[in-house]
Each structure stands twice: as structure tokens, then as C-alpha cells.
């Protein structure tokens, strides 16, 4: 990894293919994303959005091609890379039989966060859950879980945050809180978000990507996008979905 890359490019994907036999979940995806950007990924079901995020978060290995996140290769520098990225999924990724505090402390241990208790109470305050920190997350509402999930993703101060349909299943109030939280950390982080919601995705993003059948259909910075044409392109890809 080079210093220069680390500070200019958050994502550097070259000809990335993820295939099993003839079925290709990703088929030659290439893109670059500067640090500090907000990338929204759109596409029909089965377009390869989740696969792309899984490769970038080192959960899946690419079949061919390469991907670098913050200048770190997702295969050879995987362990190092994991300390620099966070994931907020539509699944809370929390243990229902642990309290909010225990959940965060456990993940702080996994990441080796320094002064875990200080960091955890700081984050619990930020997501306004400090009054519920001794309750089992089993008893939490969907919105509270999502907030705690954000705290979990931020524990180790990641530089790139991946969001996998974070708004699905949230009520309007919880959505507002999530919006507020993202706005708070917007400037200091790079975001990669999978979204089904065109309005929301376009509103937040600085770069937009449409995937279909594992290929890049469109990848442009926000300024270059004409909303109507973009919607048209998006709609035409939905027909190409596998489902």
C-alpha cells in the first residue's frame, strides 16, 4: 500500500469478477472512488450489489481482478483492512442475549479498541442509547437496534463505512435519526451504500453506480447526473433482473 493512494482513493476496483462456473455475480467491474465520497449503488435484485460489498469488505474473495480499499488489497491485506472499514447492514449483527453495552464491549475486544469503556459510553451517548445500555438488545425496537448497530460499526473508528440497505424495515422516525447520524459523520468518512430507494440514494450520494447482471451500467459523479435520464436508465435495468 502506498501513502499517496491511501489518501486519495478509497476504492480502486480493477476488472473485478466473482464467478462460479458460468454464473457470474460480478463480471468485470472497474471503478475508482476518492476518499470522502459517498457512493450509492443501485440495481435490481441479483445484480451483484451485495456481492460487490462482500468482496470489498473481505467477506468473499474475488475470482479474478483486484480490489483495493484505502490502498489495501482485499485478499492479501485483509486482516489489516478490516480494522479500517465498518458495515451497517439491514441485519443488526448484534447478539440479542447481550446488553447494548456488552455487545459493544465484545466487539471492542474483537477490534482491540483502546480504552473500550470510554469509547463505548461515548458512542452510546452519540446514538442516544445510554439510558438503555443495561437492557438486552432482544428488547430493542428496530430503530434502536439500527442505532446500536451504527455504534458497533463506528467502534474502531473506520474510515470507510459500508451500508447495506440500512433503511429497510425502519419507521419514518428511525429513518430521521439514521439520517441525522449519517449527516454527523458524513464529512469524516467515506460511504458506500446499497440502496433500493432512488430518492434517498441520490439525495445523499456524491457518486452513483448502477449495476445489472454483475456489470457496471452507469458510474458517474453526482454533478454529471441528469435525474430524469438516470431514473430512465435505472428502470430499464430492473427488467434485466434475475428475479
Amino acid at each position: 500500500m502506498t501513502e499517496e493512494h491511501q489518501h486519495t482513493l478509497a476504492l480502486e476496483v480493477r476488472d473485478l469478477t466473482r464467478a462460479f462456473g458460468v454464473r457470474k455475480a460480478l463480471d468485470g467491474v472497474s471503478l475508482e472512488l476518492p476518499v470522502g465520497a459517498f457512493l450509492s449503488i443501485f440495481g435490481p435484485n441479483g445484480a451483484g450489489k451485495t456481492t460487490l460489498v462482500k468482496v470489498l469488505t473481505t467477506l468473499l474473495n474475488p475470482s479474478s481482478g483486484s480490489a483495493r480499499v484505502l490502498g489495501r488489497d482485499v485478499v492479501s491485506d485483509a486482516v489489516d483492512l478490516r480494522t479500517h472499514i465498518g458495515l451497517i447492514s439491514h441485519n443488526p449483527l448484534l447478539y440479542p442475549d447481550l446488553t447494548a453495552e456488552e455487545n459493544l464491549l465484545f466487539f471492542a475486544d474483537m477490534y482491540g479498541v483502546e480504552q473500550p469503556h470510554v469509547r463505548v459510553s461515548e458512542l452510546l451517548e452519540a446514538v442516544e442509547l445510554d439510558h438503555r445500555k443495561l437492557d438486552l438488545t432482544r428488547t430493542f425496537s428496530r430503530g434502536m437496534l439500527q442505532r446500536l448497530s451504527i455504534a458497533r460499526a463506528l467502534l474502531h473508528r473506520p474510515e470507510v463505512i459500508f451500508l447495506d440497505e440500512p433503511y429497510s424495515g425502519l419507521d419514518p422516525h428511525a429513518m430521521d435519526i439514521l439520517d441525522g447520524l449519517i449527516a454527523q459523520i458524513r464529512d469524516s468518512h467515506t460511504f458506500v451504500m446499497i440502496s433500493h430507494d432512488l430518492d434517498k440514494g441520490l439525495e445523499l450520494c456524491s457518486h452513483a453506480l448502477i449495476l445489472a447482471k454483475g456489470r457496471v451500467v452507469l458510474y458517474e459523479p453526482r454533478e454529471a447526473i441528469d435525474d430524469a435520464a438516470f431514473r430512465q436508465t435505472y428502470r430499464s435495468t430492473v427488467g434485466m433482473g434475475v428475479s
Binding site: F20, G21, V22, R23, N61, S63
Partner: protein, 308 residues
């Protein structure tokens, strides 16, 4: 595609001819070995006649098994020869040319029994010419499956997964045939259909493992995950193969073990014929199934091409 089926057909015909040849050799050419001896008072048949026998007896009651045999009994310093009528712990009765003689057991000193010895034909041994090759091939194909599993995990190339799966299928066929032929032989040789004996037990476990492999595959949705799980499980399951193979050599077992140099001439030739034939059949089945899988893949490809 065609070439695979052609190769398969050649191997199939070759295997068929060779195993048939092994069968003919085994049943009509190779001799029937003897499975112990039976003894009789006189010569009754020349087919399996092994010659006369003499059995020394040191106590009167041991003569009880030899009624009808010619015996020579030493008693009180005298020797009496004739056909044994009866014998027990008290007395021995012998029919001589000059009437029956009864000897008190207390006077008994020694006796010799005379008669003929016959080989008992061991037809069960004929299973050896095909059961053993089938079982061997089941192990060998399983080894191939495990090898492809390792290759798959190393490369993530789907072709190796296909080879692993097809090898396991061929293993299942051969394991099934080994079980079926083995059970019939068990009935012939031991008089029971099944015995929880080390070799049989470990082979039964092997059968379950091969079936479990397919149960596992069928219950996994995602294609790649299915391949990985299948590969990992076939490697773990392969550990039972050496156990099953060597267990008859480690633990006392009723199951016959082939010892080197036991076979000669027609027997050896028939056996080797059977082995080569079975290898050819295994190869043929493997290629046949591979051809089928590849055809299926081509059909899938054509379908996706048309749906585009």
C-alpha cells in the same frame, strides 16, 4: 462431448468383457479351493477325495464320534480291529469278523481310527473374483473424490467440484454393489445376512458417510457453498477409508484378508482380469456421468443465451 461418451463406451465394453471373462474364469477354469475337510468311514466318491486318514485316540470316550469307522483298539495288551459299533465312557463295542467284542473302558490303552478324507468345496470363495475388485474400486474412486475436493478448495474452480461430485456418485454405486454382493456372501459363508464385525461395520459407516454427502449437498441452497461443504465433508469422510481398509489387519476379524502369494495360475489370472475389468467399468461410469453433466451445462448455457 462425443469423445467422452466414446471413451466411456469403449471402457464400458472392455470392462464388461473383462469382468465377464473373470466370471467365466472363476467358475469354469479356476479350481475350487477346499474349506477344511470332512472325514468318512469309507471311500464314497472320488471327486474331492483327499486320501486315507489315521487318527490316534487316547481315551475311550473320544471314540464316540467314530461309529461306523474302522478302528484298531489296544486293550489289555491285545489289539482288536473291526468296525466300531458304539463307544462311551464305560465301554467300547467293536464288530469284528468273529462277532462283536466289548472292551471295558478301564482296559482301554490306545486306538487308531481309519477312514477317508474329503475336501469341502468352498464355493463362497468365488465371490472373491468380483466382490474384492468392486470394493477396491469404491476405495479408489473415493480417494479421487477426496483429491478433487482438495483441488477444488485450492483453486475454487467449479470443474473440480463437478469431478468431486461425480466421483462421489460413482463411489456410491460401487459402495452399494459391494454391500449387496457382500451381504449375499456373508449369508453363504457365515450363515447370517449381517454380522457386526469390524470390516462390515466400518464399511457400513462408509456407506452412511457417502449418503450423508448427498444429503448435505441437497440441503444447501447456494451453489458455491454447496460445493465447498461437499468438498470439506468428502475430505473428512475419506478418513474412514484407511480405517476400513486396515481394520481387518489391526483387530481380530472374521473377514478374510488377502495374504500375498495365496493365488496361483487360473485363480490369479481371473482375479486380475476382474480387477482390470472393474477399473474399466468404474472409469466408464465416471466418464458417462461427466458427459451427462457437461451436456447439462451446455443446455443451461444455450438456455441463458436464448433468454437474453
Amino acid at each position: 462431448m462425443r469423445s467422452i461418451t466414446t471413451r466411456a463406451m469403449i471402457a464400458l465394453v472392455l470392462g464388461g468383457v473383462l469382468t465377464l471373462g473373470a466370471f467365466i474364469g472363476a467358475f469354469f477354469w479356476a479350481g475350487v479351493p477346499d474349506f477344511g475337510f470332512v472325514r468318512t468311514a469309507g471311500q464314497v466318491d472320488s471327486v474331492r477325495y483327499k486320501g486315507p486318514f489315521e487318527q490316534a485316540i487316547d481315551e475311550a470316550r473320544y471314540l464316540a464320534n467314530y461309529a461306523g469307522y474302522t478302528v484298531e483298539v489296544e486293550a489289555d495288551g491285545e489289539s482288536v480291529r473291526g468296525e466300531l459299533v458304539s463307544a462311551d465312557a464305560e465301554s467300547v463295542e467293536i464288530a469284528t469278523g468273529s462277532g462283536n467284542v466289548t472292551i471295558d473302558a478301564a482296559d482301554f490303552e490306545a486306538a487308531t481310527v481309519f477312514g477317508s478324507e474329503y475336501g469341502r468345496p468352498d464355493w463362497g470363495q468365488k465371490i472373491f473374483y468380483f466382490h474384492v475388485p468392486v470394493a477396491e474400486i469404491s476405495f479408489v474412486v473415493f480417494a479421487f473424490a477426496a483429491f478433487y475436493a482438495i483441488r477444488f478448495l485450492m483453486t475454487r474452480n467449479r470443474d473440480y467440484d463437478t469431478k468431486n461430485r461425480v466421483s462421489m456418485e460413482v463411489t456410491l454405486v460401487f459402495v452399494g454393489l459391494t454391500m449387496a454382493t457382500g451381504i449375499l456372501w456373508t449369508k453363504a459363508a457365515w450363515g447370517v445376512w449381517w454380522d457386526w464385525e469390524p470390516r462390515l461395520t466400518t464399511y457400513f459407516i462408509l456407506t452412511l458417510l457417502v449418503i450423508a454427502y448427498f444429503v448435505l449437498r441437497n440441503s444447501v441452497e447456494d451453489e458455491e457453498r454447496r460445493a465447498v461443504y461437499g468438498a470439506v465433508f468428502s475430505i473428512l469422510a475419506f478418513i474412514d477409508v484407511p480405517i476400513s481398509f486396515f481394520i481387518t489387519r489391526l483387530i481380530p476379524s472374521n473377514h478374510p484378508v488377502i495374504e500375498g502369494g495365496g493365488l496361483e495360475g487360473p485363480m490369479l489370472i481371473s482375479f486380475i482380469l476382474g480387477q482390470i475389468g472393474m477399473i474399466a467399468l468404474g472409469y466408464a461410469i465416471y466418464q458417462l456421468r461427466m458427459g451427462e453433466v457437461q451436456l447439462q451445462e451446455r443446455i443451461e448455457q444455450a438456455k441463458t443465451l436464448l433468454e437474453r
